[in-house]
Amino acid sequence: MARTLETAGAWLLAILWVLPLAYAFWAAFHPAEFSTNFVLTAPVTLDNFASAWNAAPFARYFVNTILLVTLILAAQLVLCTLAAYAFARYEFPGRDVAFALVLVQLMVMPDVLIVENYRTMSQLGILDSVLAIGLPYMASAFGVFLMRQTFKQVPKELDDAARVEGASALQVLWKVYVPLAVPTYIAYGLVSISYHWNNFLWPIIVTNTVNARPLTVGLQVFSSTDQGIDWSIVCAATLMTSAPLLVAFLLFQRQFVQSFMRAGIR
C-alpha cells in the first residue's frame, strides 16, 4: 500500500517535471491555433520550426555557440591541466597561497563581476566578440580543483619511472597523467559544455550584434516582442536551441548523470 502510494507520488512529480518540455513539444509540432487547445486530432506540422528559423539568424547563432563552447573548453582543458599538474606534483614557494587564490573563484564567479569585466573587454577593444564572452571563464577554479584531485591519485612511481627514462615534465604529463584522467576530462567537458551552451547574462552584456551572439541571446528576441507572442514559434525556437544538448543527454544519459556526479563530489 505504502509502496503503491510512493510510486504514484514519484510518477506524479516526474510528470510535473516533464510538463514544460512536453508542452513545448506539443506547441512546436502543431499549428498555432492548437497551442492552447489540446485535441489529439490536431494536425502535425513543421512550419513553426521554419518560421522560427527565419525569424532570426539562427545559423549564425549556432555557429557562434559552437565556436564559443569549443573555444572555452579547449582553453580550460589546457590551462587547468597545466595548473593542476603544478599543484599536484610540484613543490614551489607560494603554492598553497596560490591554490587558495585559485579557489576564490569558486565563490566570486565571473557571473557577478560583470561591471568590471565589461570595462576590461572595452579597454582591450574586443567587445562583441566570441573571445570576450569566453575569456573570463577560461581559467576555471573548478577545473583546476577537479584535475588536481585526479592527478594526485596517479601513483608517483609511474611519474618517476617515466622520468628515469628521460621524459620531460610535459612528456610525463601527456603520456602518464592525461590518459589516466580521461574519465575526469569527459565529466568536466560535459559540465562545461552544458554550462556555457546555456549561459546568458554575460553574453548579452558583451555582445550587441549578431556577429558574436550565442543562441541563448538570440532566443530572447522571441519573448521581447510586446505585440502578442506566438507560442508555437517560441516553443519551436526553444526546442531548436536546446536540441543538441537534449539529444546528447538522452543518448548519453548515464554518462551525463555520472559526469555531474563525479564533477560535484570532490
Binding site: L13, L21, A83, M107, V115, A139, N198, L201, M261
Partner: protein, 291 residues
Amino acid sequence: MNRTAAQVHGWLLLLPAAVLLAAFTHYPAFATLWHSFFTTAKPTRPAAFVGLDNYRAMFDDPVFWQSLANNFWFALGTIPASIGLALLMAVWVNGKLHGRAFLRMAYFTPTVLPMIAVANIWLFFYTPQYGLLEQITALFGLPNHNWLGSQSTALACLTVVAIWKEAGFFMIFYLAALQAVPPNLYEAARIEGASRWTMFRRITFPLLMPTTLFVLVNAVINSFRLVDHIVVMTRGGPDNATSLLLYYIYEVGFKFWDSAYAAALTMALLLILGTAAVIQFGVLERRIHYR
C-alpha cells in the same frame, strides 16, 4: 631534477591559468572596490573621488533594499524546497520503484536545458487568460489572475521555476551519496525491526549530512546568481517586485550605465558571497573530519 628547476617548472605550469584568473577574477574584484569610491565617468567629466557617497546612496535607495529583501525571500523559497525535493527524488530513484530510468531522466532534464529557453515556456504557463495555469484554475471556477503581473504572486512564480530547475541537479549528489551508504547498516536495522521511516531518520539522513551541507552552499550561491529567467519573464517588475540583487546590478550597470553605483552594489553582493565562502571553508573542515 634539482630543486630550483622544479620550482621554476611549477610556476611556469601555473602561469597561464594564473594570469587569466588574476585578470578576470582578482583584478575586477579589487577594481570594483576602487571604482565604488568614484563617480561614473561621463564624456564631459572624468570620474571624481567621492569617498563613501555611492554607499550612502545605496543605503538610501529603496530599490536596493527591496532587491535584497526579494533575494532573501527568493533564497528562502528555493533553498529548502529544492533540497527537500532533491532528497525525495534521490530516495525514489535509488529505490525499487517501477520505471526508475524514466523517473531519473524526468527529474534531471531541467538541468541540461537553458534557463532562458525554459523561462519562455514557463512564461506561457503563467500567461493571463489563456495560459495553462489559468486554464486549470478556471476548471475550478477561480477568477482570472495575472500571475506575473501582480506584486503578490510574481516572485513566487519565479521561485517555482528556480526550484524546478535546481532540484534535479541536487538530486544527483544525494543519489551518489545514497549509493555509498553501506547496505549492512539497513540489514542490521531490519533485524531490529525498524520501520523504513526510522531507518531513513536514524541512518540515511545523518549519513547524508555532508552532502546536505555541500548542496546547501551551492544552493545559496545559485540563489544569488540565477537571474536569467527574470530577464525573460518579468524584467524585475511589476514595480521591482521581482528584482534580485544581481538583476539590479545588471540594470544599474547596463541599462542606466551608472557603473560606479553598480560597483557599490557589486560590493554588497561580494560581501554576501564572501560570507558564504567563510561558511563553506568551515564546512569543508568538518567534512574532512568525517573521513
